[in-house]
Symmetry: C2
Subunit: 285 residues, 2 copies
């Protein structure tokens, strides 16, 4: 049970967690904080949070849980702004899609990584964003990955784990670096490919016409290209090393597919397509 | 109203058209033909077609409409097998995803393009295949592109158009080459990218683990990688020229995204992502 949860960034993720915890009666009070009073008052209006506060230092007062749900680039500045006002028993966690950069930002802001800081990442969300898209079931059955540091206090980790479990999530743990590599492959790279394809087609001639003939497969494939551009710019900058590694791999594989098409090598194409289909059918049923 | 429709390849597309036309009472008789008696008897069992016949020459007898719904590589051989048994008033159409190759195959089989041949392509379907996946609403509101040739008879074109309209489709016309370029961009390229990504990840170490952490975005993005490998091998071979053209474009754009990530060029990334999001939101709402 939480006394006061302070959420920085009340969008799809922060808002949905608030809805889930409040519905479960797990939180006496949820206070939102961000730079946009419009968004915050809309969140109160939609009954997603109890109240809001524009001053980070004031927002965290008496909070026993602080959730950082802002774009990656804002993690550091937010911590700077509230670090002197934190209650002694406050636990800090975040929902950033790339963990090494958040750890760096929080460490820099506090001078060292606070023992009460538990980096986290819910593998949930969709191409929508903003508090209007929030709903309490978002985390039901979804994974949340925690990447605790060497000095992270066990009770802090348990508190964050318990919070996500109340929201319906399955909590797992792994190392920061490993998280960033896995997510570069399964999330960051696909987003880049989809953004890239839509942009590539949009800049070709007759773009209206091209999209006109796009079928369901194209819609599914490019759904993630409707994601929030600022959030994804930040992810690309924050996890560039792991992204570039997996991108290099992928571009090499794409070259070899291109060569097979060029050479009319049906055997090779069939081999690749069959391997891909069987992997996907097996893991994404 | 059709007297007898003969469908070569009773899978998702051929089966769904049969279901739609029979439900509308538009067809006195639908006969299926393919190389697999097992598939055909299943199609009769599921009440998708009235009867089947394993001999192409016998199957087309008295048919006033012949639908070629086999993989692209089988179009030529099928035409060879029935060309001498065709009724005088029979119209031939197909559902191939690349039109130039079908036109070539049919022209080669008949010695010249029959005036009763109307190349067609329903922009419908999903990652499933086989008659079990067929359903009569598949073409409801979907586009069907006809690419009639210079010598195509007007009454043949009208008959094919009417048939698709009964199935609920919106029929449009364009040139063969233009069709193949548009589809290379909106369908063939995305399929190659998705097959390539899943295969790329599947061949990395710890593949079980990587897919384990894939979220909804990844599932949507890679859904088309569960498509039929043989069908897609044939499409790649049949439309290689247009595919390579758009692939080259895309790989250049991907290189420039990779460079922006390398250089930490957030401005450039944001620009690309915003342009892509606004294009997708506009055309795929």
């Amino acid at each position: 049970m939480l006394r006061k949860l302070c959420i920085f960034g009340v969008g799809l993720i922060g808002g949905s967690l608030s809805l889930a915890l409040r519905r479960a009666g797990y939180c006496r009070e949820v206070v939102g904080c961000s730079r946009s009073e419009g968004h915050l008052s809309r969140a109160v209006e939609l009954n997603v949070i109890d109240s809001y506060c524009l001053d980070p230092a004031e927002a965290v007062q008496d909070a026993d849980m602080v959730l950082l749900a802002v774009p990656l680039g804002a993690m550091g500045p937010v911590c700077e702004a509230f670090r002197h006002s934190l209650a002694a028993d406050a636990v800090i966690t975040d929902v950033g899609s790339a963990k090494a950069s958040v750890v760096r930002a929080v460490t820099d802001a506090f001078g060292e990584a606070p023992a009460s800081f538990v980096p986290g990442h819910p593998i949930a969300g969709n191409e929508q964003s903003g508090v209007e898209a929030a709903f309490p079931e978002l985390f039901q059955g979804r994974r949340v990955i925690l990447t605790p540091l060497a000095n992270t206090r066990e009770d802090a980790r348990d508190k964050v784990r318990a919070m996500w479990e109340v929201a319906g999530a399955v909590v797992e743990e792994m190392g920061v670096e490993h998280h960033d590599e896995v997510l570069a492959a399964t999330s960051h790279l696909p987003h880049l490919l989809a953004f890239g394809l839509v942009d590539s087609l949009a800049r070709m001639g007759e773009r209206e016409e091209i999209f006109h003939y796009a079928a369901g497969g194209f819609r599914d494939f490019t759904r993630i290209a409707s994601s929030d551009p600022v959030m994804w710019r930040d992810i690309c900058l924050a996890n560039s090393e792991a992204i570039l590694k997996v991108m290099t791999h992928y571009q090499q594989d794409l070259d070899s597919i291109t060569r097979a098409v060029q050479e009319g090598d049906g055997k090779r194409l069939l081999e690749i397509f069959q391997r891909a289909k069987s992997a996907r059918d097996r893991f994404c049923h």
